[in-house]
Symmetry: C2
Subunit: 312 residues, 2 copies
Amino acid sequence: MYKQTLLETRQRISSFVHNTPVLTSHLLDDKSGAKLFFKCENFQKMGAFKMRGATNAIIQLSKEQQERGVVTHSSGNFAQALSLAAKNLGVNAYIVMPDNAPKVKEDAVLGYGGNITKCESNIQAREEAATQIVSEKGATFIHPSNDLNVILGNATAGMELLEAHPDLNCVLTPVGGGGLLAGTALAAHYFGTQCKAIGGEPMLVDDAFRSLQSGKIETNTTGNTIADGLRTHLGDINFPILQQYVDHIIRVEEDEIIKAMRLLWERLKIVVEPSSAVAFAAILKNKAYFKGKKVGVILSGGNVDLDTLRFS
Amino acid sequence: MYKQTLLETRQRISSFVHNTPVLTSHLLDDKSGAKLFFKCENFQKMGAFKMRGATNAIIQLSKEQQERGVVTHSSGNFAQALSLAAKNLGVNAYIVMPDNAPKVKEDAVLGYGGNITKCESNIQAREEAATQIVSEKGATFIHPSNDLNVILGNATAGMELLEAHPDLNCVLTPVGGGGLLAGTALAAHYFGTQCKAIGGEPMLVDDAFRSLQSGKIETNTTGNTIADGLRTHLGDINFPILQQYVDHIIRVEEDEIIKAMRLLWERLKIVVEPSSAVAFAAILKNKAYFKGKKVGVILSGGNVDLDTLRFS
């Protein structure tokens, strides 16, 4: 039922996003035992796949809605994405950010013309601040991951990957809020050939893994993973999509994430976020499963704070 | 006189090296005031332009010479390049490395099948160790930068860049031993349209700048720059080429190199060595000169030791 919608979505946002390159590496193939195709969303505009969903969500608003602006709460990449997508479309963006957000991400939001409202770093404070902006400005709230238009926009990364490499056996993404994995699972279902969608998730915030097991949306008690983009939980719009279209989720430890990220930096010579390395870490952890398969990996973004990042 | 030789060189090594991508960035254009074209030799095989010169130098040896192997002394990238190029061509490579070389580079040489001989970290010890291998094995010594076939091989990066963007006003490279700048200057002269070749050099090891001023090969008393690939000095083969074909050399301070490298990592989302950032730092330091110009920048390599690299 989504095939035509996905094709229209890709057409709709194509002039606002990059068709990002797909990198390969003999050395990483040797290390994993699989044939890997890395879809480099770190090279996407503003440095992450979230540009895709944000752009689609704003374009799908009515003219009247666009004139009143958009609002979101985000710990980072979606804040930048909504700011830049809004700027490209002549729309105001109001961004609620936790007061402990990395400075590099805050500066980027300001650079893209977003209007920042700071709040305490908890979900209740964020939602209250966003609700207040909705009522004051008449702005439309756009959720970073639990929004169908965001999910459909995110799906276009997987569509491009499968257009370039139609015979992938599976495609992996990190899973945090669930928006990228849901979109990618739709892309795999409608544009792959028996292509499985698989998630990679930090063990420390394994809510998505537990949600698929229990059949209801689970949350995390702690969120202290290096993969800071993956600390959120699923929502009622993306969860049914994950239930229907995702094959399984693989959990990885923190040291496995760092080791995988280091391999990507050293061997592909690209800057990727810890969250991006989670899907690759899942492959390295399950070599027997992926052995000999053609595996797509969506590297979700490349916005890191070089001041704080340490490999040792 | 070199035009046909350069075309033959490019043909000769084409199946052994990547035609690396050229990246652009609106943000870095805005920051510099120029239109920048980054030739990404960090994506070259073994992670640096040196693969080009090493491959050409080995292919140009006779069968008998190839059978006895090749030897060089190098603090890093040329050691890897000669090892991999030799492996690709079925030749033995003997590598003299200083005992303080980064472990990541030593491991890479071993990974590419090179045979390492350790020596003290001074030029005399290196040359003695190399001479001993030449006399024992009958191997041919190949200098990392002061060898015409190496220079001609290096030139192919600039040739590819100018083929993709023929109207560059100038092209910049870092200058250490002089092999990349010499090759690039030849490429600019024979394949550009009034395209100037400009070097970027750390102030701490500004021997090339001083050599062009004095008319003779100068050396450095200290070598403590973060751009560890640039601590060497010019040679009698590349110096005349630099004198004839290089427009000028711009010197940059250590903090300017680190700032430039950080911009490349953060904005292009790529991993480049400090040496690679020196040419970009030269542009940022001389914005008035480069304003409005189309400027090629050869990013020389991406082999960094993530354990020791710090931005703050």
